[in-house]
Symmetry: C2
């Protein structure tokens, strides 16, 4: 479906939502009037990742409000004659838009921040529970096999190693603390007060985290300093029975290193992020043992969707007013 506002007002800038997740539609619709006070608006209510279709929908647009769409530099070049602002429904924009290239083309890029800290932190814990208690996979087995036997592992008393202590890393620490886990945290700029309140040990290095924790979970933004920061060496330090979680970005891990470590069969992984996404059907990760794979859904709660849309709309309004909000 296409929802349009003000299309006759060709004197106004054109804001296009070229695609969106169905669950985002009600939140976006709620904000359309506010934008329509200052612009023409065209919203496509379906999701597509088809490059040609997206480019057709963005033809002539001055502002694009996007979620989950990867823009290549070529696409940015083609859009550049009219496009002045792209909003991104997420925080980790680096693997969706080439920000430097966009800036070279005089395109403002805006993201959304902290809307999903609790949602992503909860999903990190959900992956941990699925590895240790297996409720979802036991449900599937109970329906297929009748009454399967299975043991569980308690997470209380285990040590959670957290790499990065921003909004999400800190929330994961709080939830893990609340579940009776011990905490080891490595961060470039740790907040010692916050660590003390959670009775968390400050790790001296990423090596320290991997060699002492039962569960390791990175929560870093992806940038040139963090790309591949977790190496095969680090994963080699995981002791048998350890669990590696990733709800941040797959590119934080050296390419191929996780697959290689998992093939030894003695550690577990709970992953919500992959490189590339969508995860190809023939991706080696799908054949690695002891994994729980979810399709980058950690951020997709109603609360988070509402927060994203509110911030993106505020960015569009700011841009239309000649200002900026959440510009990257």
């Amino acid at each position: 479906m296409i929802i349009e506002r003000n299309m006759e007002r060709t004197d106004l800038p054109l804001v296009v939502i070229p695609a969106c997740f169905p669950s985002m539609v009600p939140y976006l619709e709620r904000g359309l009037d506010e934008i329509a006070a200052k612009a023409r608006v065209r919203m496509h209510t379906d999701m597509t990742l088809d490059r040609d279709e997206i480019m057709r929908r963005l033809d002539g647009a001055n502002v694009a409000m996007t979620t989950g769409i990867h823009f290549t530099d070529d696409m940015l070049d083609d859009l550049a004659p009219t496009m002045r602002c792209i909003t991104f429904g997420g925080t980790g924009i680096a693997n969706f838009v080439g920000v430097d290239h966009a800036h070279d083309l005089d395109i403002m890029v805006c993201n959304a921040v902290h809307y999903g800290d609790n949602a992503v932190a909860e999903h990190t814990i959900a992956l941990l529970f699925e590895i240790t208690h297996k409720a979802g996979r036991l449900d599937v087995r109970t329906r297929a096999e009748g009454w399967p036997g299975s043991d569980i592992t308690e997470i209380g008393g285990l040590t959670m190693g957290i790499i990065g202590f921003g909004g999400i890393g800190r929330r994961v620490a709080e939830l893990a603390h609340g579940l009776g886990m011990n905490l080891t945290v490595w961060a470039r700029h740790p907040d010692d007060d916050a660590l003390r309140k959670l009775n968390a040990r400050r790790a001296s290095s990423i090596d320290d985290v991997f060699s002492t924790a039962d569960v390791v979970s990175p929560h870093l933004a992806l940038n040139d300093a963090t790309r591949g920061i977790i190496t095969a060496h680090h994963l080699g330090l995981l002791r048998p029975g350890s669990i590696f979680l990733n709800t941040a970005r797959a590119e934080l891990v050296e390419p191929g290193a996780l697959e290689q470590r998992l093939r030894r069969g003695d550690v577990f992984a709970g992953l919500d992020v992959f490189a590339p996404e969508p995860l190809p059907d023939d991706a080696p990760l799908r054949d690695c043992p002891n994994t729980v794979l979810t399709p980058h859904v950690a951020w997709r709660s109603g609360k988070a969707l509402d927060g994203i849309v509110r911030q993106n709309i505020r960015s569009v309004i700011a841009f239309l007013d000649g200002e900026s909000y959440n510009a990257v």
Copy 2:
């Protein structure tokens, strides 16, 4: 496999472990020497629920150490000439052994307590996460479908309604509090200090819990006062989107009431306990929508198994010494 100790010492009482979960074997083996100082011991290391086979294995036994085996009154009658003590690897003995009938036959019955409070509380939370974040079922779908879309629901900010505030109910309250949930607790003898520390509201009635909480979880022992304590009326009070959890005993709920409520399709259930168990292949619950079913595994952590076996062995030693420990 059969492990025997002291079998030549026919002057000593005979302790038989007629069946056990494979994961329990190492914990039981560790305790055999202690029992063998005072008795003959025969341990079967496989699990069976076949009545005739169990009765054959228990022939002539004076003490039976059991887990997961249901004894009918007929079985107790047949065992009575020699049997003097049955230990049960669990707390909720009521639907495994007719305790009054055993006492009439001069059979001491011993259970194990609190060994699994944290394990069961964690599994309650694991079921809640699987309903809200769906990690396990998304893993299965990601492997089958490629890259399925799905939204999640945050549990932070929801209200957890807990019925019963013993060891497990209290631990569930602590975990839920740690995850940022609000708490409403109903119990016959609530511990007001503990409720205050968890910022929990004391509910005036079971009706109150069902009509105000987003998630309802009973944690009561099964006895004549609690059998069927949760009725169709209570389940009818659940608002659309609410979640009912049960890791305690299925018999706490009026027979058929949960199935009937679930068929309306507007509420969710996470269940680890059923009546009867194993859950029959044609049980109506299997066809109810919005359910996560696990096969009574909440207690089966290594820590809990260790605790059970230690307590059961202490009960056997006490019995052999003419005393009692954990006698019901």
